[in-house]
Symmetry: C2
Subunit: 254 residues, 2 copies
């Protein structure tokens, strides 16, 4: 059985301008991998309606799950929910549950805070959306079809992901094993490594040089869903490193 | 005159698996913005030939400049150069200049290091490519058409970008001004801010909540190529913040 797949859309001019450094890709990549839902693509796109709509429609047809981050706040540049509605061809309208939740939240604040038009925007969603609870700041994310719409602020996004994770149908977890050696050069090991990769087509072998004050080296990572094959590949790589006269050390460099 | 546009392709399974945190997007976004070549999209894609080829062909038709990072080392998972050749429909063959450069480099090492098949791979490029010098580790990047192929290691990528930057035809620099206020909530300012945005269609106004130990707030950023309009927008936003009873502070929060 092949694993489900995921795509992440990072929506926001602030990431494309360099103002904000994205911190969501790595979190989601790791968590989804553990659940057997490998992230196959990520795109950073601007707050441009046509771009958001076209991209959502392209990737929701292509991947099992789509996740979006960003653009669900109360200001004029928060256009994700409206664009997702247009992508699905459904009305963008008040969501009863979100509305009730947020109205109660603002009424209960001390002093009570107005649930004004801008805040009501955060309770306005595609028709048919189901909510993703937001334990941090109340305003929920939502799910429509295979598209999961989350906040861009990492702390809120992570809390939302924890809420929605149980609803995802995972696959065989992606696991990895690593070995590294200091003083080794990629150009030296490449040929033998390629031969090991050829013998383990079901394992994804990656070669990553690293740089440290006290000398660089190369880390070799074997990744996949077949743990026995991963471990066999790492055993061969380890033996090959020794053969070349380097000292293989288990795991990634510290 | 409208500015040229850019797209970044981050090529590598290690970014999509969460093993490696990308550090190239923010650097390139900032540098390109300063040169008036706004980054309009970034994609993280895996080491899958069909995906690389299709994506390169899609985005090179769509944007003025395409930049790629990753996949130009000597190992089996370094397939960027070969895929770019296939995307352009030209042979993937030894580049005379790169070959001479690298052969000389390996011969001059003490002890001399073999310029073996794996290392020759790094001198194998699409026919017609011109080199991007690599002052850090010799093996060059290259340019073909509007596609600029660079290393994934940030230090090397940045050195390569410094080399190629003078060859890019820039536009009007994208500039920004910011103002922030602690204690302010986005839901409070959203309506008036949207009205200011409507009056300055040529300015991109972004609203970014921030969180600090001693209280959060909102940063408002006005961005674009028309400095007078940016400054006028920030003046209006600053006055609006005061009107609401908060203390506007110039710039982004420290």
């Amino acid at each position: 059985m092949t694993n489900p797949t995921a795509c992440l859309l990072i929506i926001g001019n602030e990431v494309l301008s360099g103002r904000t450094k994205d911190a969501n890709l790595q979190f989601l990549a790791s968590r989804l991998g553990e659940m057997g839902i490998p992230l196959r693509e990520a795109r950073v796109i601007p707050d441009v309606p046509e771009t958001i709509i076209a991209t959502v429609n392209e990737v929701r047809a292509k991947y099992t799950y789509v996740f979006t981050t960003g653009g669900i706040g109360p200001t004029h540049d928060d256009i994700t929910a409206e664009c997702i509605s247009r992508a699905f061809g459904v009305p963008w309208e008040p969501n009863q549950e979100a509305w009730a939740l947020m109205a109660a939240h603002y009424a209960s604040r001390e002093p009570p805070t107005e649930f004004n038009a801008a805040r009501q925007r955060m309770a306005t969603m595609p028709r048919g959306a189901t909510l993703i609870a937001n334990p941090v700041s109340v305003a929920p994310g939502f799910i429509i079809g295979n598209v999961h719409v989350m906040a861009g602020v990492p702390r809120i996004m992570q809390a939302m992901f924890d809420q929605l994770a149980p609803s995802l149908q995972g696959g065989t977890p992606v696991q990895s094993r690593a070995v590294h050696a200091t003083g080794m050069l990629e150009g030296k090991i490449a040929e033998g490594l390629g031969q090991i990769q050829d013998r383990f087509p079901q394992v994804e072998i990656g070669s990553y040089p690293y740089y440290r004050e006290n000398g660089g080296g190369v880390a070799l990572v074997a990744k996949g869903t077949d743990v026995a094959a991963i471990e066999a590949a790492i055993t061969e790589i380890t033996a090959y490193i020794s053969e070349l006269g380097f000292t293989p050390l288990a795991g990634e460099p510290g």
